[in-house]
């Protein structure tokens, strides 16, 4: 019988769909009797999406202007 720790250790493989049939059976067994781990799984699954949104960055206008200028100069001098 899996403990919470065993189950949580497998979550990445579970979400990647990369578990052995045996691991999959043990995990399902554990989750069916452990509500906290079901909540944990849901929040673990939601984490990457939230993080992606939190880490979004836009290039400031002055930096993009410099980039264009830089590339034009370099491309011109190379051709």
């Amino acid at each position: 019988m899996y403990t919470c720790k065993d189950a949580i250790n497998l979550l990445l493989n579970f979400l990647d769909g990369e578990m052995t049939p045996e691991e999959s059976r043990h995990l399902k067994e554990h989750l069916s009797g452990c509500a906290p781990c079901v909540d944990f799984l849901r929040t673990y699954k939601a984490t990457p999406g939230l993080c992606k949104r939190a880490m979004a960055q836009q290039m400031p206008k002055e930096v993009s202007a410099k980039l264009t200028e830089y590339l034009r100069a370099r491309i011109k001098s190379a051709s």
Partner: protein
């Protein structure tokens, strides 16, 4: 569904721009730069945490893309190709820098009892509220702070996989690490970030 389609449309537009740029049309290359600069800059800024480095690496990345444009075969999307060049450049920059690293033991994660049960049960399932359209600014800062506290190798893997969307194979190629090592770090990074988000959602209910 509509996202996937627009993604395909973008790729098709890129393919046409690449073909024109390969034939010497500089304005087509500039259009590619304009379409991808935010993502490339974002990646390099997140990885290096320096605006100056990010601006410089972005320049190098697009210049290098231009110089190697003739070798680009178009079997991969232009976006993922420049992304990998940028990731490579950012990693090289990081490896040359001496950064005070957080120790691995300091990575936060769930705590377990001796018998392997969760020591603290999640107080609430916030996965649904996380789907809201607007990300709470304070939550954003909490996540950025938690990502900053990750040791560099963990942070890199998290950024490349969960933020930039590279595959494990691509990350292995860029970092030189094995896929099992990458997965193990990604898992620990996600646990730490999940913990930070959990603390954010529970800070209001902690006292009561």
């Amino acid at each position: 569904m509509s996202d996937e389609m627009s993604d395909e449309a973008v790729k098709e537009e890129d393919r046409q721009l690449v073909a024109r740029a390969q034939a010497g049309d500089i304005s087509a290359f500039e259009a590619l730069v304009e379409a991808h600069r935010d993502k490339v800059y974002g990646l390099t800024l997140r990885m290096t945490r320096s605006e100056a480095d990010a601006a410089e690496i972005t320049q190098d990345t697009f210049l290098s893309a231009y110089q190697h444009l003739k070798d680009f075969r178009g079997d991969a999307a232009f976006g993922s190709w420049v992304h990998r060049i940028a990731a490579n450049n950012a990693l090289m920059r990081l490896r040359h820098r001496r950064v005070v690293q957080a120790a691995e033991e300091e990575i936060q994660g769930p705590e377990f009892t001796e018998r392997g049960s969760l020591a603290e049960y999640p107080l609430q399932d916030w996965s649904r509220s996380a789907e809201g359209k607007i990300l709470d600014a304070e939550l954003g800062r909490a996540i950025q702070g938690a990502a900053d506290r990750l040791p560099e190798g963990y942070r890199e893997v998290f950024l490349l996989k969960d933020v930039e969307g590279l595959s494990y194979e691509q990350i292995a190629e860029v970092t030189g690490d094995s896929i099992p090592a990458i997965k193990s770090r990604l898992h620990r990074a996600r646990l730490a970030l999940r913990e930070a988000i959990d603390q954010f959602y529970n800070q209001g209910s902690a006292g009561g």
